[in-house]
């Protein structure tokens, strides 16, 4: 049928224009909507992220997590009330919209989001939070997550005010209470699936023991992005269990892996040379490596050696004789900094900025030792009783960096006449010597700092504690400085004023640097590898360095 547009005249032309404009608008809307859907589909076809776990996850129960592999699965699947933003290091709301900590540090109240479901469809409410806390504080649980909240004897009370409001009261003040909830993944009270029903962005899809942990997107995850698109973008995450770093690197280079969360410095340089955009150095991490001497009175080592190790002057001299710059440069290829004290400068709030790394000075070291009666005879250092200064340094086999550090230190100390025997042992044997038989002289190990708050290290600094490595479980502090450190640590633990806590812990750091029970060597940099197919990655120093924002990552096909 022919259309005779001309018969309609000006009104028809106006109508026609309007229709055309409307058609154009409709088209635009259709295209936009299509684009949005396509964009949404594209965003939710964010691909699969693949990386390696260094060991088998020991548990999928988020309350019992002890090892790194289980912690990785918990981070990706667990929904927490609050989350420490790994980039800004600030605490942010998650399942809780807001929270309030009481002045005395004993009570915390949460206002929760509504309309959230577990992965099996069970609705989330304050009852689940109460249930989780009760499980966590069960004395029979014995887990690091729960123990972090144990500040005193007595029961923890949970009060469910409404489905979206809950307050939790502890028997004693808990320092840094709110930040501890970053580690607490909420369990469902009523679901039959127990810990497999999760609130995080991903859920367990498949688990092949010894081979792979496969996580798939949780379809009803509550979070959306700024454009209203439901997160996560990724379809799935595949975690291959691979302890060997050479194989991990091979697979990354072949494109079978998308990220390496913690990269060794020797691989970093090779990757940076061939594909600089894939190698990331986020700067000094919280991790440190240290050497310490056995100060246990009952240790089965010769008495004259105990006298050396218990002398702060001796320890300071050893510290001065170690070339930390060389450790950073030779062992870590420049991707580490000499350590100033127990905390890394990356821990911006808690690090005592007055502290500086010990300068390398073998002459000063020798002088200090001579002040204690040591003397150099034919290139060998002897103590005041004529005993040659010979001792062993033990470290765990399998850690190339620690073995190399031990050999460099051996060479450094040889220059001042001290003969060091380097012994590498398998980890269980080393732990036995360190914690039960005390049959060792020197040990090099590292501290991997998961949390920023020094309260997490109470058991290291308290002289009565088990992890006071150089001389654990003292009935009464054996030295005045350890008594002072005990007092300061207890003071900061019972205070809720950040300034007062910082003051106390600054003083602890100064005492530790003065007395050198741990000779802090270096702070490693946070090195990682991220394939160019991964979008949205922003590697940071806090763990997990590369996938801390997994819900916003996408992997584009090559």
């Amino acid at each position: 049928m022919k259309r005779d547009v001309g018969k309609w005249g000006p009104m028809k032309r106006t109508c026609g224009k309007t229709l055309a404009i409307a058609a154009i608008c409709l088209n635009f809307l259709a295209v936009h909507s299509l684009a949005q859907t396509a964009g949404q589909t594209a965003a939710q076809s964010g691909g699969e992220l693949r990386f390696c776990l260094r060991s088998e996850p020991k548990t999928f129960d988020p309350l019992k997590v002890e090892d790194e592999a289980s912690a990785a699965v918990r981070y990706l699947t667990g929904g927490t009330l609050l989350r420490v933003n790994r980039q800004t290091q600030e605490l942010e709301p998650e399942l809780a919209m807001s929270w309030k900590v009481s002045k005395d540090g004993r009570q915390i109240s949460f206002r929760l989001r509504s309309g959230i479901l577990f992965s099996d469809g069970t609705p989330f409410s304050a009852d689940d939070v109460a249930y989780t806390v009760q499980q966590l504080m069960d004395p029979a649980l014995h887990s690091a997550t729960g123990d972090a909240f144990r500040s005193g004897t007595g029961n923890v009370e949970t009060k469910v005010v409404s489905p979206t409001q809950i307050s939790i009261t502890f028997p004693a003040p808990v320092a840094g209470l709110d930040r501890l909830f970053d580690q607490v993944a909420i369990l469902p009270q009523h679901s039959s699936k127990k810990e497999l029903a999760v609130l995080g962005p991903f859920m367990l899809g498949d688990y092949k023991p010894g081979a792979t942990v496969f996580l798939k997107r949780k379809p009803n995850y509550w979070k959306t992005d700024e454009q209203g698109r439901r997160l996560p973008y990724l379809d799935s995450i595949r975690l291959d269990i691979q302890p060997n770093r050479d194989v991990e690197m091979l697979r990354f280079k072949r494109g079978e892996l998308d990220v390496i969360n913690s990269l060794d410095s020797e691989y970093f340089d090779k990757l940076a040379a061939s594909s600089p955009q894939m190698a990331h150095d986020a700067g000094p991490s919280l991790d440190s490596e240290q050497l310490w001497f056995n100060q246990v009175a009952s240790a089965p080592i010769p008495a004259y050696k105990k006298n050396w190790f218990r002398s702060a002057n001796f320890r300071r001299a050893i510290s001065e004789a170690i070339n930390r710059e060389d450790l950073s440069r030779v062992v870590f290829h420049g991707h580490a900094q000499p350590a100033a004290g127990p905390f890394s400068p990356a821990n911006k709030f808690w690090f005592n900025s007055k502290l500086k790394p010990q300068a390398y000075s073998p002459d000063a070291a020798l002088q200090a030792l001579q002040g204690d009666g040591f003397r150099l005879e034919n290139g060998t250092l002897k103590d005041k009783d004529g005993n040659e200064v010979v001792f062993s340094i033990v470290t765990n086999a399998g850690s190339k960096t620690r073995e190399r550090m031990a050999v460099l230190i051996q060479d450094d100390l040889q220059k001042i006449g001290i003969h060091v025997n380097v012994v590498t042992l398998d980890f269980p044997s080393l732990i036995e010597r360190m914690t039960q038989t005390f049959d060792y002289e020197g040990i090099i190990l590292g501290l991997t700092n998961v949390d920023l708050d020094p309260n997490g290290e109470m058991n290291v600094w308290l002289s009565s504690a088990e992890n006071h490595q150089w001389n654990p479980q003292q009935k009464v502090p054996e030295t005045a400085w350890e008594a002072e450190v005990d007092r300061l640590m207890r003071a900061q633990a019972s205070s809720t004023d950040p300034r007062k806590r910082k003051e106390a812990f600054d003083r602890v750091q100064e005492i530790v640097v003065e007395q050198q029970p741990f000779i802090f060597l270096i702070n490693k940099n946070a090195l990682s590898a991220v394939s160019t197919t991964v979008r949205g990655a922003a590697p940071v120093i806090l763990s997990p360095q590369t996938y801390w924002n997994a819900e916003r990552l996408t992997v584009t096909p090559k």
Partner: protein
């Protein structure tokens, strides 16, 4: 002595002499660290480059030869003799002796000796000299490495019991020890030589692997095993082929041992 055997002797002699003369041949001590030149490529100053701690690799190969080339064959000899005594004798005696010996051998093959080695390390003081530590390691390897050959020797000796020449010797009045050592043992040589030849590189490599338990050679002393462990960083070997020199040297030495052990008439057409 044929040409190949002469060549093998010459090679082994050169290697041994070079190791003995390490103090003069090596540009520096094996422990000296050139910290400004770590992982350096070969140069006039460092013929095989330096390792990750700046130590001259050529010096470490030379000094490492002393340890590995002396102790590994000694441990291999020990394991071979033990295999001969246990397997050979059991097979020769036959009956309940053979069955018992083989049951013990099978048990030996199956047990997790890792834990014995860990215990051995625990019993040693922490401050032992690297040389003592490596000697104990090779001794343990020798004491544990006889089982494979023992099984084969038992079968071989068992089949020799009914061989014509043994029957003839017995008929001629030869008995007991004399019969075993003079008539049976020489015919076990193929298996004994195989055991000895295989054990040398296996023990050299095992010594390095035992470093994970605190055994083996202690830093800074080098051994071929510890030098060969560098090959596990496959990613770097393709770019640093000089790291293959210890492997080539070991292959050459192992081939030389094989040439010494092989009789020409067993091979030539």
């Amino acid at each position: 002595m044929n040409l190949w055997r002469k060549l093998a002797c010459a090679v082994l002699a050169i290697v041994l002499c070079a190791a003995a003369a390490a103090n003069w041949l090596a540009p520096a001590g094996y422990a000296r660290q050139y910290r400004e030149a770590t992982s350096a490529p070969p140069s006039r100053a460092h013929w095989l480059g330096t390792d990750e701690l700046g130590r001259d690799r050529f010096a470490r190969v030379l000094y490492g030869t002393r340890i590995s080339l002396l102790l590994a064959p000694a441990a291999a000899l020990l394991s071979t003799l033990m295999a001969a005594l246990i397997g050979g004798l059991a097979g020769y005696l036959g009956g309940i002796w053979a069955r018992m010996a083989m049951a013990v051998t099978d048990l030996f093959l199956s047990l997790p000796w890792l834990f014995l080695l860990i215990t051995a390390r625990a019993l040693m003081p922490l401050n032992v000299s690297p040389l003592f530590s490596v000697m104990v390691t090779f001794l343990l390897l020798g004491l544990l490495g006889w089982t494979t050959a023992a099984r084969v020797l038992c079968t071989t000796a068992g089949s020799l019991r009914s061989a014509d020449f043994v029957r003839q010797a017995r008929a001629a009045g030869v008995r007991g020890q004399r019969l075993f050592w003079i008539h049976v043992m020489p015919n076990l040589k193929p298996v004994l030589y195989a055991q000895f030849w295989i054990s040398i590189p296996v023990f050299i490599l095992s010594e390095a692997n035992l470093g994970i338990l605190g055994l083996g050679v202690a830093e800074p002393m080098p051994s071929w095993g510890s030098l060969l462990k560098e090959l596990e960083g496959l990613v770097s070997v393709s770019e640093e082929p000089w790291k293959l020199v210890p492997l080539i040297l070991l292959v050459v030495v192992v081939m030389s041992f094989q040439l010494l052990l092989t009789r020409q008439d067993e091979v030539a057409a």
